[in-house]
C-alpha cells in the first residue's frame, strides 16, 4: 500500500518534471552505452563493432526512452491532454455543432446551477461566526398541522433558566420604526434630520454573547437594559455609524429617536456584524410579561453547550415539554412540541432533504433532452467520420481508445458550456444581490453568500460530465459497435452505416416539438415583456408613490407588538408578511384612529403643496391582492336557463381606493358611475363598524369581458370566496354580495385579468400607499414629502418613495429576465432542430455521393437529382411540420395564451410555420450545394 502511494506521488512528481527526468534518463543511458563500448573494445572489438553491439544489448534507445517516460509520468494524462487538443480542433472544424450544442448545454447547465445556488443560499450551512455551526434555533412545532406555532414567552423564560445543554438562550424580533437623529421638537425638523424608516432588532443581551463579537466602541446590550424602567439604549451597526455619524468616535451618549422614543447610543458593532439576520440597530428585548403580552413572533436562538449535540439538546427540550398557556387550548397544547434546528436553516425556511435531492436529480434530468439531441448530431458526425476511425482501428487503436476520444471531445464542449453557464449565473447572482435583495426592506441574511460556491462549481462540473456522457459516450459506443462489425470493410465505403428509423423519428419529433413550442413561447414571451415594451400607457413618471404605516410608541408596553415584521420568515417574504401580520393582528383602535386622522391630514397638506396635481390613497398599482370571487347569476330578464345555474368563479385583483383615485390616475368610466361620497359614508353609518365596506364596486372592462359576457354589467353581483376551500360551503351564507355600479377601462397592468375597485376611507385599508400626481421634479418632492410626514407625526412611517415609472421599470427588469430565458431556450430548441435537419441532409448527400456521381454522369439534371435525393428528407420535415402545427393548435385550444400569462398574437402559428420552413431551407442549403458540386468523374474513379 505504501509502495503504491509512493509510486503515485513519484509519478505525479515525474509528470511535473518530465523534461528534467527525460534528460537524466538520456544521460544515464548514454553513460551505459559508453561503459559497454569501452568494455567491448577492451575485449577486442573495433570501436565500430563495440558501438553496434552495445546498442543491440541495450535495445532501441528511442523506444526505451519512450517506455521510461511512460513509466515515470502519467501516461493517461498525456493521452487525455492529447484528446483535449484533438477535441478542440474537431470542435473548431464543426463549429455549427459546437455553437448549437454548446448553447443548448449552457442553458441546461445554467438552469441546474441556478437551482443548486437557490438551495445553497436557502440551506447554506453554518454562520460566519465563532463556532457558528453550534448556533441553533428553538421553535415550537405543531405536529398535527405540520407548521410552526408562536413560541410562548413563558417557555423562553423557562428554557433560559433550566436547559443545561444550551447556553446563551435568547430571542429577537424585528420591528420597523422611523429613525430621527438628534434632539429637539419634531415640528421643526431640518432636512438633515428627516425621519427614515429602519429595521430594528429587539434582542436579548444574550444575542451578543452568543455571537461572540465584541463591540468596536462602547458596550453591547446588557442584562440590566432588559429590566423594565431601564433607560432606553441602542447599539449601532458599523455602516450606520459610518454613514449617519461620519464615524464620529464621540457617538456614544448621543440621542437618536425611533418614532417618538429617544434612545441613547451605548455602542457600535464592528464591520460586517449583522446578527441575528441583517440588522444594523439593536435595542433590548424585555421579556418580562408586562412588556410583551400577546402573541409574539419571537425567534429563539441558543448555542449548544460544550459536549452537547443537536440531538441531546432536543431530547432535553422534549423531556421538559411546554408549559400550559392560557391562550392555547389543552387540545392544541397536546400537538405542540419544542424542536431544535441549525440556526440558518430555521430562519430561511426548511424543506426535507430528500426533496432537495429529488429536485437536483430532476434538474440533472433536464440535461437529457438537449444532450440527446446533440448525441444524434454526434452520431451522424461519427458516421461521416467513419473512415478516420476505421483507419485508426486498423492501425491498432482499441475501441475504448476511440470511444474515450469521442467522450473527451464532448467533455471539452460540455466543459466550455459549464464555464459559460457559471459565468452567466455568477453575473446573475451579483445582479440579483444588487437589485433584488437590496429592494427588500430587510436585505439578505448576513450568512448568505451570493458568490458561486465551490460546491456549485463542482455541481456544474458533474453536470458537464453527465452531459458529455450522454452526448458523446452513448453515440460513440453505438457507432463503434458497428465499426467493429464492419471493421476495415467500412474503410472507403460510405454506405457501411445507415441512419435508422430511430434517427428519422427523432428528426421528425424535433421539428414537431420546435414548431409546437414556438407559438406558445412567442405569446408567453410577448405577454411577459409587453407591459415593459409598450409602457404603462399613461405618464407614469409623473406619479410619486410611497407606502404608509403607523407605529405604536416603543415605550408604550401594550403597543410594542404592533406592525411586527415577520422576522422568523425569510427576508424575501418579509414584505408580504408585514401586510399579512397587519391583517391578522389589526392595530388597536386608538392607533387605527390616529392613523386615519394622520392620513386625512397628510392628504390635505399635500394637496395644498404647490406642484401637486392630485393625491390618492390606495393599494399600490401591481400590489393588489388576488382574491377568488364568485359571480352571481344575471337578472331574470336577460338570462337564459343555462346561465341561471352558472356561477362563474375566477381570480381577480382587489383594490381599495379613495374618492380621488380615478381622477388622479385619469381612468375614464365606460358605463355606470364613479364612486360618490355617499358610497364612503353609507359604509360607515349604516353598519356602524369601521371595518365594514360599502357594497358598491367598480370593475374593469376585462372583468366584464371574462366573467359577465355580453349583458348589462351594471347591477350584477359577486362575492368573495374564503381562501380556504374547505370553509366554502359553511361560510357561503354569510358572504357579502357586492354590486357593480360602474365599469372603467383597463389599465395596462390589469388588461389580462379582472380587477375590482372598492371604496375605502382613510384607516380602512390594511396596507395603504400614497400616490401623488406631480408636475415638478420628483426628487425635490421626495424630500418635501419626508419633511411633511416627519413634522406630522414621528410614528407615521413612509417608505419606498418611488415614481410609478421606477416601479414599472423594476418589474419589467424581472420580466425581461424571464422572457430572455424563455427566448434562449426556444432559440436553442430551434437551432437544435435546424442542426438535425442539416445533419440529415449532409448525411444523405454523403451516403449517396456515388449514386449522384453516376446519375449525373448519365446526364441527369443536377436539380432534379437533388430533388429526388432530398425527397425523403423533405418528406420527414413536412411530416414534422404538420404534426407541429396540429400540436400547436391543440395546445392553443386547451391552454389559451391568456391563461398562462401570455398575450395572444394573431397569426402566430402560420408565422411560426414559415420560420420553421425557413430554418429547414437554410439548414439544407449547405449540403445541397455540396451535392451539386460532386464531380461525376471523381466519384466514378473512386467506386
Amino acid at each position: 500500500m505504501r509502495a503504491l502511494v509512493h509510486t503515485i506521488l513519484a509519478r505525479i512528481a515525474g509528470f511535473l518534471h518530465l523534461g528534467k527526468q527525460d534528460r537524466e534518463f538520456h544521460l544515464e543511458l548514454e553513460a551505459h552505452l559508453a561503459m559497454a563500448e569501452e568494455e567491448k573494445v577492451r575485449q577486442g572489438m573495433t570501436p565500430e563493432q563495440a558501438r553496434r553491439s552495445a546498442r543491440l544489448d541495450l535495445g532501441g534507445l528511442t523506444q526505451l526512452q519512450e517506455a521510461g517516460r511512460e513509466a515515470r509520468g502519467l501516461p493517461w494524462l498525456d493521452t487525455f491532454w492529447l484528446d483535449i487538443k484533438l477535441g478542440i480542433r474537431k470542435l473548431r472544424q464543426s463549429w455549427g455543432l459546437t455553437l448549437v450544442g454548446g448553447l443548448a448545454m449552457t442553458i441546461a447547465i445554467a438552469i441546474g446551477v441556478v437551482v443548486f445556488m437557490v438551495f445553497e443560499l436557502a440551506y447554506g450551512g453554518s454562520l460566519p461566526l465563532d463556532e457558528g455551526d453550534r448556533i441553533v434555533a428553538i421553535q415550537t412545532w405543531n405536529e398535527r398541522a405540520q407548521r410552526l406555532h408562536d413560541t410562548a414567552l413563558q417557555d423562553l423564560e423557562r428554557w433560559r433558566t433550566t436547559v443545561q445543554s444550551l447556553q446563551d438562550i435568547g430571542a429577537f424580533h424585528t420591528i420597523e420604526r422611523n429613525l430621527v437623529i438628534g434632539n429637539g421638537p419634531f415640528s421643526s425638523v431640518s432636512r438633515s434630520r428627516l425621519a427614515e424608516p429602519v429595521s430594528l432588532a429587539q434582542m436579548t443581551a444574550s444575542g451578543f454573547r452568543l455571537a461572540r463579537t465584541s463591540p468596536l466602541l462602547g458596550r453591547t446590550l446588557s442584562a440590566t437594559d432588559e429590566i423594565p424602567g431601564a433607560a432606553p439604549v441602542v447599539v449601532l451597526g458599523y455602516d450606520v455609524w459610518q454613514s449617519r455619524f461620519s464615524a464620529d468616535p464621540k457617538v456614544l451618549g448621543q440621542i437618536i429617536h425611533f418614532g417618538g422614543a429617544p434612545h441613547t447610543v451605548v455602542g457600535v458593532m464592528p464591520e460586517g456584524f449583522a446578527f441575528p439576520v441583517n440588522h444594523r440597530f439593536w435595542i433590548p428585548l424585555r421579556t418580562d410579561r408586562g412588556t410583551l403580552a400577546g402573541p409574539q413572533e419571537l425567534a429563539v436562538f441558543a448555542r449548544l453547550a460544550p459536549g452537547a449535540t443537536l440531538e441531546s439538546a432536543e431530547a432535553e427540550l422534549a423531556a421538559l415539554g411546554l408549559l400550559p398557556s392560557p391562550t392555547v387550548t389543552p387540545e392544541l397544547m397536546e400537538q405542540l412540541r419544542p424542536i431544535l434546528k441549525p440556526y440558518a436553516l430555521a430562519l430561511t425556511g426548511d424543506t426535507d432533504r430528500w426533496l432537495v435531492r429529488l429536485i437536483l436529480v430532476l434538474v440533472t434530468l433536464l440535461l437529457i433532452p438537449p444532450c440527446a439531441n446533440i448525441a444524434i448530431l454526434v452520431y451522424a458526425r461519427i458516421v461521416m467520420r467513419q473512415e478516420e476511425f476505421a483507419a485508426r482501428y486498423a492501425l491498432g487503436a482499441s475501441r475504448g481508445r476511440i470511444v474515450g476520444q469521442l467522450f473527451v471531445e464532448m467533455l471539452v464542449l460540455a466543459g466550455g458550456a459549464a464555464s459559460l453557464a457559471l459565468l452567466v449565473v455568477g453575473l446573475a447572482l451579483r445582479w440579483a444581490e444588487r437589485n433584488l435583495v437590496s429592494d427588500l426592506s430587510a436585505g439578505a441574511p448576513f450568512w448568505m453568500d451570493f458568490t458561486l460556491s465551490l460546491r456549485a462549481v463542482l455541481f456544474a462540473a458533474g453536470l458537464a460530465v453527465v452531459a458529455a456522457a450522454i452526448a458523446g459516450l452513448v453515440p460513440a459506443i453505438k457507432a463503434t459497435g458497428r465499426q467493429m462489425q464492419t471493421g476495415l470493410h467500412a474503410l472507403g465505403n460510405r454506405t457501411g452505416m445507415r441512419l435508422g428509423a430511430t434517427w428519422t423519428a427523432l428528426v421528425v419529433a424535433q421539428v414537431a416539438l420546435s414548431l409546437a413550442a414556438l407559438p406558445a413561447a412567442v405569446e408567453i414571451g410577448w405577454g411577459t415583456v409587453r407591459k415593459g415594451v409598450l409602457g404603462p400607457g399613461f405618464p407614469s413618471e409623473e406619479y410619486l408613490t410611497a407606502k404608509l404605516a403607523m407605529d405604536g410608541n416603543l415605550l408604550e408596553a401594550t403597543e410594542g407588538t404592533r406592525s411586527v415584521a415577520a422576522s422568523s420568515e425569510p427576508a424575501s417574504t418579509a414584505l408580504a408578511n408585514t401586510a399579512l401580520a397587519n391583517r391578522e393582528h389589526p392595530p388597536s383602535l386608538s392607533t387605527a384612529d390616529r392613523f386615519a386622522g394622520r392620513q386625512i391630514e397628510l392628504v390635505r397638506r399635500l394637496n395644498a403643496e404647490p406642484g401637486v396635481l392630485g393625491v390618492t390613497v390606495g393599494v399600490l398599482p401591481g400590489d393588489e391582492p388576488w382574491e377568488r370571487i364568485e359571480v352571481g347569476p344575471a337578472p331574470p330578464v336577460q338570462q337564459s336557463r343555462q346561465d341561471a345555474q352558472l356561477l362563474r368563479r375566477s381570480l381577480v385583483q382587489k383594490n381599495q381606493v379613495d374618492l380621488a383615485f380615478f381622477n388622479v390616475f385619469e381612468i375614464p368610466l365606460l358605463t355606470g358611475r364613479h364612486f360618490e361620497a355617499s358610497d364612503f359614508e353609507t359604509a360607515i353609518s349604516e353598519v356602524g363598524d369601521l371595518d365594514a365596506e360599502s357594497t358598491s364596486a367598480i370593475v374593469n372592462q376585462t372583468f366584464v369581458k371574462q366573467l359577465l359576457g355580453s349583458g348589462n354589467p351594471l347591477g350584477r353581483r359577486f362575492r368573495y370566496l374564503p381562501s380556504d376551500r374547505r370553509q366554502e360551503s359553511t361560510a357561503q351564507q354569510a358572504l357579502t354580495w357586492y354590486e357593480i355600479v360602474g365599469v372603467v377601462i383597463d389599465r395596462p397592468g390589469n388588461a389580462t385579468h379582472g380587477t375590482v375597485y372598492h371604496p375605502a376611507e382613510a384607516g380602512q385599508m390594511s396596507a395603504p400607499s400614497l400616490s401623488l400626481r406631480i408636475g415638478t421634479d420628483p426628487i425635490a418632492m421626495t424630500s418635501r414629502l419626508r419633511e411633511i410626514v416627519t413634522t406630522l407625526d414621528p410614528n407615521l412611517r413612509i417608505k419606498d418613495i418611488l415614481t410609478l415609472d421606477e416601479i414599472y421599470r423594476q418589474k419589467a427588469a424581472g420580466n425581461n429576465i424571464g422572457a430572455f430565458s424563455l427566448g434562449a431556450v426556444t432559440l436553442s430548441v430551434l437551432l437544435l432542430s435546424a442542426a438535425g435537419i442539416y445533419a440529415l441532409m449532409s448525411f444523405t448527400i454523403n451516403q449517396r455521393r456515388r449514386e449522384i456521381g453516376i446519375r449525373s454522369a448519365l446526364g441527369a439534371q443536377p436539380h432534379r437529382l437533388l430533388g429526388s435525393i432530398f425527397k425523403r428528407a423533405v418528406g420527414q420535415i413536412a411530416v414534422g411540420t404538420t404534426i407541429g402545427i396540429l400540436v400547436a393548435l391543440v395546445l392553443n385550444y386547451l391552454l389559451p395564451a391568456e391563461k398562462v400569462g401570455g398575450w395572444s398574437v394573431p397569426g402566430v402559428i402560420p408565422a411560426a410555420t414559415a420560420v420553421m420552413i425557413l430554418v429547414g431551407l437554410v439548414a439544407a442549403v449547405g449540403p445541397a450545394r455540396r451535392g451539386l458540386r460532386i464531380d461525376p468523374n471523381e466519384e466514378l474513379r473512386n467506386s
Partner: protein
C-alpha cells in the same frame, strides 16, 4: 536445436535487481546488468534496457535510492542502493519465491524423475 538460454520470469527481475544491490552495494545500471549476466553464467537473457525500467519502478516505490556519482572509469553514472524498505521487501519476496519455487519443484518432480 534446443534453446539453452531462458527468458527472465515475469516479475522476478525486480527481485534479482534488489538482491544484486543488497549483495554488491551501490551499483550503476550497467554494473547490475553485468552482474546478472555473470551470475546467470550466460544462461539468462537479460535485456539491459529493461533493467533501467525496473530501476525506475523500484525508485518510485522507494525500495531503491539513486544518486549520481563517478564510475570506476571516472564517468558520471547513476548509482543505486537498496533502502530499508527495499530490504524488507526483498526478504518478504525471497521467502515468497522460495515457497513458490518449492511447490513448483515438487509438482514438476515426478515428471522429471520418471
Amino acid at each position: 536445436m534446443t534453446e539453452t538460454r531462458s527468458q527472465i520470469l515475469q516479475g522476478t527481475l525486480d527481485l534479482m535487481v534488489l538482491k544484486t544491490l543488497e549483495q554488491m552495494g551501490p551499483l550503476h545500471g550497467y554494473g547490475i546488468g553485468r552482474r546478472l549476466e555473470q551470475v546467470g553464467q550466460g544462461a539468462l537473457i537479460v535485456n539491459q534496457g529493461t533493467i533501467y525500467l525496473c530501476l525506475v519502478r523500484l525508485v518510485q516505490k522507494k525500495w531503491v535510492s539513486a544518486e549520481w556519482g563517478k564510475s570506476e572509469n571516472n564517468r558520471k553514472a547513476k548509482f543505486y542502493a537498496v533502502t530499508k524498505a527495499g530490504q524488507a521487501q526483498l526478504q518478504a519476496e525471497t521467502e515468497n519465491w522460495q515457497r513458490i519455487s518449492g511447490v513448483v519443484g515438487r509438482v514438476l518432480q515426478p515428471e522429471t524423475g520418471s
